[in-house]
Amino acid sequence: MTRVAIPLAALAAAGTLTGCFGVQQAGAFSYRFPDNQELDLQPVLQAGPAPSAPEVGNPSGEPLVVATTHAEESGAVVALGLDGEERWRHPFDAMTRPEILGDVVMTSDREHVVALDARSGEELWRKPLESLAYVGATRRGDTIVFVTSVGAAGGATRVGHVRAVGARSGDARWEWEIQGVLGRPQVWGPNVFVPWDRQNIAILDVTTGLEKARLRSTDDVIAWVNATSAGLFYGGRGMYRFTERSHTGTKEESTYRPSPLPEAPREPLVEDDGFFPVPGTRSARGRIRLHYAPAPSEDPTAVAVHHDQFYFTYYRYVFAFDGEGTLRWARMLEQDVIVAKALESGLFTVGEQGAFRLLDWETGAERWSGGSERELASAGVDLGAFAPAPSGELEARDPRIVLTEIAGDPDNRLVPARAYAIELLAQMDDPEITRLLLDLYAQRHMPGALKEAIANVLRTRATGTEALVEALDQRYDYLADTPAPPLALLVPALLEQQKTEAVGGLVRHMLDHETPMAVLPLVVRGVVELGDESIVPALRSFLVLYHADSTFQEKPEALAVAAEGIFRRGGDEGRELLQALVADGTTVGPVSTAINGLFEREAQEAEAAARAEAEAAARAAEEAARRERAARPTRLSQAAINEVFVAQTEAMRTCVEGELERNPRLGQVRIVFVLLNDGTATEVRFAPNTPEFVACMEPVVAALEFPAFVQRRQRASFTVNLRGDSSEQVAEAPEDRFWWSRAQRRAGEGEIGRPWWEVRQAPRQPGAATPQPERPSGGEGEGSGEGGDQPWWMEGGEGGGEAPPAGEGGEGEGETPPAGEGGEGEGGEGGQGGGEPWWLPTE
């Protein structure tokens, strides 16, 4: 942004100014000027006047209203006493609202800023506007500072001009012109505060025009400055009080108070926007405003307001709120308020037809009235601390009644404020309010926007909702001129609040031909959503009666909703009915389509649900598999292998017993195999490998289910020592449970031949031809083993790298089946030479 401060000398030299001024060398509106400097602001603050009671400033010493007139042959500025008597009149087409500055009244026409004598109305002086707009003036002593500016609303031209002149003479004192917009100035103490570019306040010395300090908001817009007897205030939508905290430039750290009514219609400000002229003609601007009476405060963090009360004027309506935004009272006046001034005693209003009123701050009642009948367009007031004593006891009107009157006021200019009144009404807990709102809704000429507002608030009201249900009792009656109840309003509210007790009334309206067709689907929806199974007969009657009727040919929605209700709550019987209606050729097409849609939608939903379920199951399975894979051991331990075999003990017992019968001296059974990582056992070898034993064992082993593991494959074995050394039992199990226990018991019972544990393996006799199990890989056939070859199952301990029997070496993980050859000359059972077999207990 470029700001150009034009010293008067330069301006004079350029011929842009008339008159002779003292030369200001520097120091105002410079973009280099430091802002928010505590050291700069402190003297300004200290130089400010101490808080005091407001005083009348005009020379009469009496409250004065200076107004512009309307609808007369030619415009005029008139000074009026509070009795309405005209003190003086000055014919003048004022374009801006008059301001009373002591003994001078400032206003403007299209071309000039004009100063009038406040005593007589005579013109004191005028200054050309030079295509700018007059936005306001302020005064200290005999100096008036006024601002003209253009560009606040946008556009290429942005010029601000601030001038100090003699109050009664108009003699120039100093002036500044900048390329930027300036707002209405305010004198506070020896300084004048000039809002600038909506973000800054330049604080100039009234006498010299030099800038002494600057305020800048870093997080807000500054639209106005207001110097009062209680202090200096500034702000935009919110209010700041000028204190030692102001140098921070932020809302949070300054003395700030947010807008008390952020939700009020048209976003009213607490002061007129200082960057725009206040019109002197009739205009909407200025008629929607917040007002407050500033109060002095010792607390540097407080923006104090008398009675902590704010007033909101909207043309003819006045609302009073406390600082928390809670309504205290409301008034509807006969005349539009063209200007209002909040005082400690209440709100002073000037009406468009000349009525003056003071509304008591506490009750809103008329504490005083004056003025006279005349058409006014705008007015400036100088009231001081006007506080007449009320003539009698002031009675507050019930805000509910006033708000209801405002909401029902036929003035359609004021619909936003009427809607606001409805919102305020709805915020009250009184149950009766619901009924009031329904009555308002029923008013024939209620605008649609207000009906919508009522509908919105009724949906959220928590009290008085029984009135909604009761309202359903109303029925159309031509003779009684009774309309149908406002079902479009009632049903959504009933639905929102789940008023199931309304079902009876809704059913009645569903079956009543006087229910408008437009709202019938909503009514049926209400029945369906609020009712239970008991509503099905009514829905059936309704649907059946009209399913072939032309009434619903074009608008089948209500029947479609009824069908949906039957579909949802009517059970199988209901669905049969719906299918029968679809099959019935007389059912109007759109209704059939709607019913078919219900079934199709259900099928689609079921399909989607099944799909989702399957997907979820697949995801779960995948996750389980992933977890299972993650939990797999690298390879199976012998214990895990044994556990699998233990599960097949019974089957194995049969095979072993059979083999024992064939070979009573059998000392050990061993199974060696390769396990794939999916748990499949391959390359299985048995010892002994007699065909009978192998044939018996093969299906047993094939039925074994080993856990999966990570490693691709592993060699494994399972060994059962049939001799007494229990320490050789790999598969441990409760003694009475497993086959060896039973075998022992049965042996004791004489069921089988000689018990194996009694058979002591005799040293193998050289050359003795003891039948030996065939080497799994050898395949030579039964009994072909020779004494010099130690049986393969005797050469090692446990397979799979698990702990081998004592004294034996492990086989490791090799995949090679056990070899029969290469032994130490020991035969099988009863074999000789070489020493004790490995399964014998070690010494």
Binding site: Y476, D477, Y478, L479, A480, D481, L511, D512, H513, E514, M517, S541, L543, V544, L545, Y546, H547, A548, D549, S550, T551, D584, G585, T586
Partner: protein, 297 residues
């Protein structure tokens, strides 16, 4: 039985309703029944044929359904009402519904009141109107309050039908309500008032002159003048009142009234009334101004 009956019906020209688009009026149906009863020979549709007729009410062919309805009308027994009621409640296309309501109107059995009452709440105006008309045909004390309810209907034609029906059934206790309806713009109430009102009501009725269209007012006066239970003095007062209104429409109306007098009037009082009408007519110019009083055309 039905197979035999149908050719008979057709031969007597009663098959027309079977193919006719518009449902027959109650009177036409009564004529049908009388014709059927008066038929010289041949089989007739009776209760015994119900078993054959009723299944046809369920037919998917609308012509067959209509035919069955007409046959039930010919049967003309209270027992035919429940099947018709059931048919109506089961929801039918407009033409079947209307036909069934007309049938109930022709039957005029009190046991149809319940279903007809239900249909006074039907969403279709035509169905409601027919329901009221059918109710009006039933001689039962429950009917009058139901017809009075029709005056409160949102549809103008239904209100009119109810008003006329009240006049038709002679619902004198409804006179006040009819006046109220008339005040609220139910123009058909004028005829009903003319049929029901006593001598004292004429003055009350005449207060509407100038407020209601003249044609509407004349419809009520016509009823008053046509009644034998209204004394001649009252009728003379009506003529005088109309003479004050004058106008072409009144002149024509009185002329028409005059034509209703017998050619030879023996009764002195009647003759005096006749002469009064003549005088009144004579006072009204043939193309008089002021004929539009009360919005008359």
């Amino acid at each position: 039985m039905l197979r035999h009956a149908l050719p008979f019906v057709l031969s007597w020209g009663l098959a027309l309703p079977l193919i006719a688009v518009d449902p027959p009026s109650a009177e036409a149906q009564r004529r049908q029944r009388r014709a059927a009863e008066d038929a010289p020979s041949g089989p007739r549709v009776t209760l015994a044929d119900m078993d054959e007729i009723l299944p046809r009410l369920q037919s998917a062919n609308p012509d067959e359904v209509r035919e069955a309805i007409d046959l039930l009308v010919i049967v003309d027994r209270p027992q035919v009402v429940p099947p018709l009621a059931e048919l109506l409640r089961s929801g039918q296309p407009d033409r079947i519904t209307d036909r069934a309501l007309e049938a109930l109107r022709g039957l005029a059995h009190p046991n149809a009141i319940e279903v007809l009452t239900e249909f006074t709440n039907h969403r279709r105006v035509g169905a409601r109107r027919r329901a009221y008309q059918a109710l009006a045909a039933i001689d039962d004390e429950r009917v009058r309050p139901l017809l009075e309810r029709g005056l409160r209907d949102s549809d103008r034609t239904v209100r009119g039908a109810a008003a006329l029906a009240l006049g038709e059934i002679g619902a004198k206790p409804s006179l006040d309500l009819l006046f109220h309806a008339f005040e609220r713009g139910v123009v058909e109430a004028a005829i009903a008032i003319g049929k029901l009102g006593d001598e004292g009501s004429v003055e009350r009725y005449s207060e509407f002159l100038g407020r209601e269209p003249l044609g509407v007012m004349l419809s009520g006066y016509e009823e008053y003048l046509g009644r034998s239970d209204i004394d001649l003095e009252t009728k003379a007062a009506i003529v005088d009142r109309l003479g004050e209104v004058a106008g072409v429409m009144v002149r024509r109306f009185l002329q028409s009234y005059l034509n209703q007098f017998p050619s030879r009037i023996r009764d002195q009082e009647v003759r005096e009334l006749f002469e009064r009408v003549e005088e009144t007519i004579a006072r009204i110019p043939e193309e008089a101004a002021g004929e539009t009083i009360g919005g008359g055309q």
